[in-house]
Symmetry: C2
Subunit: 516 residues, 2 copies
């Protein structure tokens, strides 16, 4: 088979460690589709909507710690993937978007599918490249992968003219990009140590990004030594939690509660994230920052950089003792009766298998998980990082492909789930071991709460109609079965428990619609 | 009720003739949601995905000839609507996007949902405005509506800071923008007349945009007078067709066939569109333009401007006789046996009620409609204008709301339909009289054709897997029922005919999965 730009670039990606391509191609991507038959080290996964492809790449990147490719069709195809790339951007997830464009000589014609792809890509990408030249394509692919890996890691977008993909080139081996390990700034570690020592129990440590056991145990050592307050971001890209894993308070979602939680801090040391800000602005609290105005902060590492080296160096600099696990708090007994956020979270926490991956896009229905998840078997949680709903099912696709030996559970709000429900089909086609639990409260419940916060009068019928998923309600079991995913509906704690027990004896995709 | 920026702006929209808002709001849009209870002349229609809202506004605008509002949630929410706005842009459809953003003082914090909305909006908008000031908001709303109306008509995007929406303002009446009627350039009409007369039967007339009976009859008069060749764009935003309506050849999709169809022209007069270009570029035909190089063109009116005044003036300038309807060509008898693109198109054409609206996003399965639609009862067809698939079901939502007294049929490819299937729920909630016919060939058939065009060797298993909607196949009846739309599956011409006959006796939404 003769080599061309697309084939050589895919081989360069393979050499750089890329193993998966989440694809929703069109005519301008046909050379890439053909090349995927040649480059057998990269698994092609078809998604029926681009938001599934980008959300899957985000979920994959959070678990694998390296980028997958997406393969997307010009500006409109890329645009359908932006929302989940926004979440990936806010998570610092390594992702490489491969976006086909018209042949170089065809761009000036402004054909129907032409648009300004750079303008669309820039808001969600740390790096945007355009390749018009087949000879440069594999080099640009390597540059995009290196950019996505970082540190800091993030989203790289590579726009490729169709003639750069189809033009013949000589085949040649590729030097993969070097993996670079993030090193913390020793001066910053020294300053942080000094500030925390001075502040004592009014010193704060804010953790964000991908949080594994090493970062959490280092933070626990610091807290044990100084009494520092450790807080984790509200929406973490990935958090290790469960029995025997150090657990810390999450920063509350509403800004008045978040500011209250930080109000007595005299200093704030930050690892893996940035100084905390309000998710939304409100009339009654016209202030974005959440830490006290007179609380200085010291950033050890930002988003997309490993927080562990800085936190370990800080704990060592403080002379903190080795980590001693806290006493385990047992889970309450199995609840009975109606399902609500709390009984759902507890039932799930009691069942969750060891080392599972739980994707939490359950919005208000996920509050019970926040309470009980830390007492479940050790696992990883992926949260909605950018507020762009529709992350959950796609993340599950990607996480399951990154970790085929682990059970994946998507705890999914019904309103959010509708944005990317097409991901259910990919779960079925790839036979992924994913349990989707749809929390069917049949409303945008968080918006109903926000309506109450924004107005002192009760909402009228139009406002209520815009926040209710009723008239008709959604039948998630049929939606799942329509895409080849077996499903059941449960209406109480016992029902859910039974459904989960049956899941313990099966694998592959399954959807449970939990009526709340 | 006290007035605020959002309420006053919605009243300005109501005064300007806006009647519908296709909404998928979030926290930053709560003031607009509340205001929709106050401004009773604007109907709020909830969509469960933004691409449904923008595609509905596109369908509405194509039928109503005036803009609807969309209500979208910051950058990620807007981004989900871009693909269908791309189609609206290529159709020249009037649409006004109302995009909520953070409060002005909260933008600098770069909160999780913050992104560069202007960068996302510019590629699909003829006008992008940002309003930070409650006092200016209703004025900016009027400006956006006037911009969307044109001529030329198109997409206007208004980004509104949340504090501009919530800040109190004095209520005051609004002067609506003036409606401006497009006038053709008389010198252009005179030049076109001279060129067409000189070229005789080698003179061409290319029609695009919204094509009603007046434009088509004027073109028929010119053809009768001079023997000019009349061709219509491949993908028209709206075309009147059926018995007694002048029908012309469509420009072929593949560029070699399109160039062949125009190859002997000596001049080309263009109305409602622009000089024709290839949809995609190909290796074997590295040329974008389709008319001969030595064929000059004269544009009477561009996209988004009414083509009728210029065409009527041209026919009159040529001294063409009054329009005489051509003899009607009867439809062939009802086909039997298996369904394919041809028998499907014929069965549908024999059934279609008078003055229906047919939305054709059937891709390869729509070829039979292209043959038989012109002999059906008179109706309007809306086509996929920008190549961004997922237009059909949303267009049907908007068209049915614009014309509640007309039957709407969405002839929908299965692959394309999956991009915005959430629109089925809005059909059910609003009880819209829409028949969705899903053409279930269970493949991206057009991509399989493109694979054959791009390579001389047969596709490998990976390439085939990326173009097949099988393993598992989609069960559209379940997907529809899961969103409250009754549905059936048909497997042959008789089945389809029976299903359509039953539809004649019922109204409301219905989905027919036609197995091809």
């Amino acid at each position: 088979m003769n080599c061309n730009g697309a084939r050589l670039a895919l081989r360069a990606a393979e050499a750089a460690g890329v193993e998966v391509c989440f694809a929703n191609p069109g005519t301008t991507e046909m050379e890439w589709v053909t090349a995927l038959d040649e480059v057998t080290g990269i698994r092609a996964v078809l998604c029926l909507f681009e938001g599934v492809a980008t959300g899957a790449a985000d979920g994959y990147g959070r678990i694998a710690g390296k980028p997958a490719l997406t393969l997307l069709h010009l500006g409109p195809g890329f645009a359908n993937g932006i929302a989940n790339l926004h979440n990936a951007r806010r998570a610092g997830t390594p992702v490489v978007n491969l976006i086909g464009d018209h042949a170089t000589w065809h761009l000036a014609a402004d054909a129907p599918l032409t648009s300004d792809i750079e303008s669309l890509a820039a808001p969600v990408s740390k790096l945007v490249l355009r390749t018009d030249d087949a000879q440069k394509l594999s080099h640009d692919m390597t540059t995009a992968i290196a950019g996505a890996k970082g540190p800091p890691s993030g989203v790289a977008s590579l726009i490729v003219a169709q003639d750069a993909a189809w033009t013949p080139v000589d085949d040649k081996p590729h030097a993969p990009p070097q993996n670079i390990r993030f090193s913390p700034d020793h001066a910053a570690v020294a300053r942080a140590a000094e500030q925390l020592e001075r502040a004592g129990d009014r010193g704060g440590l804010l953790l964000g990004g991908v949080l594994g056991r090493e970062s959490l145990e280092a933070a626990a050592r610091i807290a044990a030594k100084l009494g520092s307050r450790v807080v984790v971001d509200t929406f973490l890209p990935r958090l290790r939690e469960g029995r025997g894993v150090p657990a810390f308070a999450g920063l509350p979602y509403f800004p008045e509660q978040a500011a209250e939680a930080l109000s007595d801090l005299k200093t704030l040391v930050i690892a893996g994230t940035r100084p905390p800000v309000a998710f939304f602005g409100y009339r009654h609290m016209a202030k974005s920052t959440l830490a006290p105005d007179d609380c200085p902060s010291e950033v050890l590492s930002g988003l997309g950089s490993d927080s562990a080296p800085g936190l370990v160096a800080l704990a060592d600099a403080l002379g903190a003792d080795a980590y001693v696990p806290a006493a385990e708090i047992p889970l309450p007994p199995a609840p009975n009766g109606d399902l609500d956020a709390m009984s759902l979270g507890l039932t799930l926490a009691r069942w969750l298998p060891e080392n599972a991956i739980l994707i939490n896009e359950a919005a208000t229905s996920g509050l019970g998980w926040g309470v009980h998840g830390r007492a479940a078997a050790p696992h990883d949680v992926l949260n909605l990082t950018g507020g762009a709903i529709g992350q959950g099912i796609p993340n599950a696709v990607g996480a399951a492909i990154a970790a085929p030996q682990r059970r994946v559970v998507a705890l999914q709000a019904d309103g959010s789930g509708m944005y990317t429900l097409q991901g259910l089909w990919t779960l079925a086609r790839e036979a992924l071991d994913v349990t989707v639990i749809v929390c069917a409260n049949r409303a945008y419940r968080i918006l109903q709460a926000e309506l109450g916060r924004s107005s002192s009068t009760p909402p009228g019928p139009v406002a209520l109609g815009l926040t209710e998923l009723s008239g008709p309600h959604l039948e998630w079991t049929r939606l799942a079965e329509g895409m080849g995913v077996p499903a059941c509906q449960v209406a109480g704690c016992e029902d859910l428990r039974n459904a989960l027990e049956l899941r313990s004896q099966s694998s592959g995709p399954y959807l449970i619609e939990a009526l709340l």
